[in-house]
């Protein structure tokens, strides 16, 4: 009775090598755990946040990982609701990635609140008008959905498959996966949007504030849109990275190309919308409040300079979008993934700007100084933690679960 713990027909490295590979990641997790203890036990004075920077690197990381984790929802949407079959070859991986991103997001959010005893008031005493409430509800439920989507993948481990109940369960869950995926898409749409709403509703902060569409500010849609556009690219890039590390071809190129094409068009439309948004904001919203466009950019400190806008929209927006919508761009894998990385950076810049630059820009004319902040070690290590955590979870998942349906075929 010796069933291999590995998926059928694939090769995996030795246990020793595997453990050695995970060791650095575990080390990071250990330090991060200590940092988390300090933050939760001694409070947020362990960070470098202050009353001007009430939101800092954690919230940025939160927004970024959620947006990047958006690959799970959008590929789910494509695979199960639109019925793009090819995407199914990468959907398992997207789900694992999603689980990593969303659990990280919740941990970071919990750290940011720094109040483990009372953080749950967001549910218990919910104010439904708050964008953050919407985020918290959707995020938590969506994480639940992601885990539900992840369960059948776990159940496909050969050892677990031997238990008849789990065998049936995984089969049955696969059967109705579309229902879960649909719920996930619904929830994602709202929490991605609400995350955009978080800065967008701040009408006291003209840098963040955007006029409304329905009951939401513009940013609601821009955030969902950008997450849908860049999330799959992130999934693809991470997949490619896994291929590189395992030195195996795991997904056929046409899957990448398809994702790239869809994302490319999404990205292009998004970046056009974002540009229009910027123009409207710079010429209508800001001047109405007495601000010139350049008031929001500063060369002191230089990391809030206008270069950030150029980088976000042109270099990390239009450029990758144009690469991805052209067939030649997609066929050249270096160009494809180069563009994907640019788009990912662009998305992270966008989230950075919407959180940190918003807070850094001085509003009172008598306070000309820009607020500056540099994260404390506790913040840095916990922000790095999702990477280590991702390495661990993906490694284990890859090792024991049939994440890539095409692996066997591509690695005979």
């Amino acid at each position: 009775m010796t069933t291999s713990a590995f998926p059928e027909g694939v090769k995996r490295c030795s246990s020793g090598k595997f453990i050695l590979w995970l060791l650095p990641a575990f080390l990071v997790l250990l330090i991060a755990a200590y940092a988390m203890f300090r933050v939760w036990f001694y409070g947020l004075n362990q960070t470098n946040m202050n009353d001007a920077y009430g939101f800092a690197i954690w919230i940025w990381a939160d927004l970024a990982v959620i947006a990047l984790g958006g690959g799970a929802f959008f590929s789910g949407f494509l695979a199960y609701l639109v019925g793009v079959k090819k995407v199914k070859n990468i959907i398992n991986f997207a789900v694992v990635l999603g689980v990593v991103c969303y659990t990280s997001a919740l941990i970071l959010l919990g750290l940011d609140v720094g109040q483990p005893l009372r953080g749950w008031f967001i549910f218990w005493h919910a104010n439904i008008h708050s964008m953050l409430t919407e985020v918290a509800f959707c995020l938590t439920i969506y994480l639940g959905v992601l885990i539900v989507e992840f369960i059948p993948v776990i159940l496909e481990n050969p050892k677990i498959q031997k238990i008849r109940f789990f065998h049936h369960l995984s089969h049955n869950m696969h059967e109705i996966m579309a229902v879960f995926a649909a719920t996930g898409v619904f929830l994602s749409f709202f929490h991605q949007g609400s995350l955009g709403g978080v800065p967008g509703v701040l009408y006291g902060r003209p840098f963040a504030f955007r006029e409304g569409l329905f009951i939401w500010p513009w940013t609601f849609f821009l955030f969902t849109w950008s997450a849908a556009a860049v999330g799959p690219l992130f999934t693809a890039t991470m997949c490619r990275l896994t291929e590189f590390i395992t030195q195996k071809k795991l997904v056929k190129d046409d899957v990448y190309e398809l994702l790239a094409k869809i994302s490319g068009w999404m990205l292009l439309t998004y970046i056009i919308a974002k540009s229009l948004d910027t123009i409207y904001w710079a010429t209508v919203t800001a001047p109405a409040r007495g601000f010139a466009f350049m008031d929001f950019y500063s060369n002191n400190p230089a990391y809030y300079g206008v270069w950030i806008l150029i980088a976000e929209i042109v270099i990390c927006g239009f450029l990758p979008a144009l690469i991805l919508i052209t067939q030649k761009g997609r066929e050249n894998k270096k160009l494809l993934f180069g563009a994907a990385i640019l788009a990912i950076i662009g998305l992270c810049i966008n989230r950075w700007v919407m959180v940190l630059q918003v807070l850094a820009a001085p509003l009172k004319p008598f306070q000309e100084e820009w607020f500056v902040y540099s994260p404390a070690w506790t913040e840095v290590i916990t922000t790095i933690m999702p990477i280590a955590y991702g390495i661990v979870l993906i490694s284990i998942a890859y090792r024991y679960l049939p994440l890539f349906p095409q692996e066997k075929e591509l690695n005979p």
């Binding site: 409070g43 004075n45 009430g54 109040q115 953050l132 006291g204 007495g290 509003l363 004319p365």
Partner: protein
């Protein structure tokens, strides 16, 4: 929309601060600390970590010696009315209903024990009026004995801010009830601690809708303006200054724009 209690008269409390009178002495700040059980630490020089419900800023006209001028600007929570009288920037963002707009008084509440410290309201407030308790407050060596029972001491990890000394309104109202005339609260019966403390009489406080109160007239002055008024936050704190540079320093103007009081057309 919150319904107004049928038994209370609606008021709209506000403050007018005459910047031409303020000397920057900080009596208002200290009186506020003392009135509201504000905590303190041995290291308070990093102002973005220091809890102040009212803070006096020093602003200058930027001209070289000897044409330099200085103006002191006391800044409490602006108690914004926000959009449609009831939606200040900070209130609707609170995920836990720890803050709301008190429609009968126009005061923005903050209930620290309900707050769990997400700091979203702090990010939403353009005035930096909301302060976070980064540390657990400690009152060393018997200092707990001077704490006032009217204001609940806060704990680590919650936001606090100026309440326009709402407990003093409660005190006045309680006495009015006791005397049998619940609506009879005179201007002098309810004054904030900072108003009372200002040794120069720069601060005036009262019901902005009541013509008998000084603020009613003062806020209509040609030289009255509000801090960052153009953001649309509708603050309940007005400032007075006859100096144009002070007006310019307190709101954002594009180069060709002029503060309303000096815009050629009379206000």
């Amino acid at each position: 929309m919150e319904k107004l209690p049928s038994h209370t008269k609606a008021r709209h409390f506000g403050m007018v601060i005459d910047l031409d009178k303020c000397t920057g002495c900080a009596s208002c700040m200290v009186a506020c600390y003392s009135e509201n059980n504000v905590s303190f630490r041995d290291e308070e020089s990093i102002k973005l970590l220091s809890i102040n419900w009212i803070q006096v800023y020093k602003i200058t006209n930027g001209k070289p010696f000897p044409d330099t001028e200085v103006c002191y600007l006391p800044q409490p929570c602006m108690q914004c009315d926000g959009k449609d009288f009831g939606h200040p920037p900070c209130v609707s963002v609170c995920p836990a209903v720890a803050t709301d707009f008190d429609t009968p008084t126009g005061i923005v509440s903050q209930i620290p024990v309900r707050c769990f410290g997400c700091r979203y309201c702090m990010a939403a407030c353009p005035y930096h009026a909301r302060k976070f308790n980064w540390w657990d407050p400690v009152w060393p060596a018997d200092m707990e004995r001077y704490l006032s029972p009217d204001v609940s001491p806060r704990m680590r990890g919650v936001i606090e801010k100026c309440t326009f000394c709402y407990h003093r309104f409660q005190r006045a109202r309680q006495q009015a009830y006791y005397k049998g005339d619940a609506e009879n609260i005179k201007e002098a019966d309810y004054q904030t601690a900072c108003t009372q403390a200002c040794p120069s009489g720069a601060i005036t406080f009262g019901d902005m809708d009541n013509p008998d109160h000084a603020v009613y007239t003062l806020k209509k002055s040609r030289y009255a303006f509000r801090l960052l008024e153009r953001l649309g936050t509708q603050p309940s704190v007005y400032y007075l200054s006859t100096r144009k540079w002070v007006h310019r320093a307190c709101d954002n103007y594009l180069e060709h724009e002029e503060p309303a009081a000096f815009a050629g057309k009379s206000a």
